[in-house]
Symmetry: C2
Subunit: 408 residues, 2 copies
């Protein structure tokens, strides 16, 4: 990929994704696949005035060995080093950037049960830090091509051709053309207009129907709101874009109100394993039955991580004719695939989907109906012929989606 375009992408991530401000600290988490691009991002961070930029490199085969060889006790350990790292994030409101390039199947064969148990054991130590950070700091997830990931998407190509093609797909989906920052400004304004329209209807539920078997109803929160695109940090009021790309308009539904069956329309990569051809049945808001043709055990483990893992945290609307879906590429990566299709997320909901969340505690948001969990996992369920009806408090039915696309 030409260096000039990559520099634009690096700048987009730093100025529009994280929106790094003078004196801030930045942590970048990434694989070993694109060190030259990571260096460009680091340089843009310093140009934006960052005081310190730390790159935390990781390598899936090493992670896999840890999962295989370390005891549950050792994996469950929350060390003083980690405590200090979390505390520094809280003190400094460190910007956090993930540059994902992982092989979606890179942890296949590891013991899901052990990893899940370790995560459960560690969560009580992490939770207070997460809550202290919630809404207060800038973060962003973007992607760069990894060789294994690219070969999975384009199996017919050589590794280097596949990586080049994945670069093209990532940059196109991320609007990295002539002036990416201007393009994102316009895009954020469009998403905000759609949110305003939806919020104006004051919907109490959404009803989904598709010929693939999806027949599902989810309750919305009377004090909820739809959001999309950029967000603003609570304390410093810094506008940033947590996902590049992002096409979705989403809200957190009312906990306990979901009925019927949802059929997934894309595979889900969870903890390095691919869950394929699955469906989930909900009753009283809870996933009570799951079927998957591949890795059903991973899916079952996922929804039993904690009490809230079987409840919904997110409802997101994306036109079937979205740019990413129209690319015809299945990315095997949530950041992209979630922006190609209407989706739901199991687990934790978002405080910012409650009106007035700026002055509410997390406890108050949970009381208002926002789900709480240690997980938040998106899965895709949009389809070509999906219809979505919104029902208002006074029983009025509004067609929101018709044949997979926006009807409003």
């Amino acid at each position: 990929m030409q260096k000039r375009r990559l520099k634009k992408y690096a700048k987009l991530i730093v100025k529009c994704g994280l929106n790094v401000k003078r004196g801030q600290e930045v942590i970048i988490r990434c694989g070993l696949d694109q060190p030259e691009f990571v260096t460009m991002v680091v340089e843009e961070c310093y140009k934006a005035g960052a005081e310190r930029v730390k790159v935390e490199w990781s390598y899936q085969p090493v992670t896999k060995l840890a999962y295989e060889h370390r005891s549950l006790k050792s994996l469950s350990d929350f060390t003083e080093v980690e405590r200090a790292e979390w505390q520094r994030k809280v003190d400094k409101l460190t910007c956090l950037l993930w540059l994902d390039s992982d092989d979606p199947d890179g942890l296949a064969g590891t013991d899901s049960e052990k990893i899940a148990q370790a995560n459960v054991a560690r969560y009580p130590f992490i939770k207070p830090f997460r809550e202290a950070l919630n809404g207060k700091y800038q973060w962003c997830i973007a992607a760069v091509p990894g060789k294994e990931w690219a070969k999975k998407i384009f199996p017919g190509l050589s590794a280097s051709a596949a990586v080049e093609k994945l670069w093209e797909a990532i940059l196109t989906a991320s609007r990295v053309d002539d002036d990416p920052i201007a393009a994102w400004k316009a895009h954020n304004e469009n998403l905000a207009r759609h949110c305003n329209l939806l919020n104006g209807f004051r919907l109490v539920s959404l009803e989904y129907k598709s010929s693939n078997g999806t027949d599902f109803k989810v309750g919305l929160n009377p004090v909820g709101r739809f959001v999309g695109g950029g967000e603003t940090t609570l304390s410093k009021k810094i506008y940033y874009n947590p996902n590049i790309p992002s096409e979705e308009v989403f809200t957190s539904p009312m906990r306990g109100m979901a009925e019927g069956t949802v059929v997934a329309t894309k595979p889900l990569s969870y903890q390095g394993k691919l869950i394929e051809n699955f469906r989930i049945r909900f009753k009283d808001g809870k996933a009570v039955e799951v079927h998957a043709e591949k890795n059903q055990d991973v899916l079952e483990k996922m929804i039993s991580m904690d009490e809230g893992a079987a409840y919904l945290g997110e409802v997101a609307l994306i036109a079937y004719d979205s740019p990413i879906n129209n690319s015809g590429i299945l990315f095997y990566n949530t950041l992209f695939d979630e922006n190609a299709s209407c989706h739901l997320a199991l687990g934790k909901g978002f405080n910012e989907c409650v009106q007035g969340y700026e002055t509410m505690t997390t406890e108050e948001c949970i009381k208002a109906g926002i789900n709480e969990s240690m997980i938040h996992v998106d899965f895709m369920m949009g389809s070509k012929d999906m219809d979505i009806i919104g029902v208002t408090a006074d029983g009025k039915r509004v067609q929101i989606f018709k044949n997979g696309n926006w009807a409003i």
Copy 2:
């Protein structure tokens, strides 16, 4: 390089270099150049019973940006995260492995003065941890090829051919042939035999002469001793090899007793910068005058890092006909070049070069004449026609080296 030979090297590093024991933690510091080999080392650590293996990857261009853009104040900071990391090393006696692959010139152009000042500011925080760890834990420095490093050594070759040739040179120098572990056992026994011989002479000084201009005398410690090859940790009595390869027999000289001029015979890479064609004049044990054709400022900065940086911490004897020197390769890397040539080190001396150090504090070792400093930097001065005479307490003169090689 064939995988089978690399696996032997990985096993040598883990079993003979670090000698990892069941339940231990290991930290591996390395560049991004050889992730597959690093994975082999991680796997060998787990096979040896390691409880946790952490890989701390780094990338010189990112380090360089930090040195360029971060303020002196920020670079001087010693964070609570670092404090927790050091404390864990002290608590766990974590094994530490450096797999060096850096470009010896990779930090060229950065501000030596700023980096030196930051290191000076941080040292008081690090020193107590270093002292608490001194002699108590297993550590090892070994090398793997980096592309830039390999191209510097073999400028006429393509990058991949240069990397392959550097692999061959590293593995040969490290005795990775049929049975590397048996070869290292025999090699350690040979080095120990040479030490016993030297210690039997009870030398008070060494006098160096060479046609290149070296004319130099260094005082030895009456309670000193020569060591070489493997070492044994103080608390747990674990035998390990801190350098792979290692050809040297060395001691720490008597602080304050060094006179005359030493001419370096190989360039010195210090903090990513190459100091070339230099000489140092000593008076009363101290480097009082330096000349370098390239990067003299870096050398001057180095010896003024603190009071002890201009005094000697090490005197090492290696035959001119050493396997590494005979390879004819100039590695631009101290780990190899120091094992190709007699050398000295400026800065910190070694407690283990004092008889009875096992029951002595660092303070007591310093009082006994061991130099103290935040730096320890080797530089090469062995030459083809170097003669070394040892003088005993009763004035007897023993020829130790004749024409660059052992005479005993």
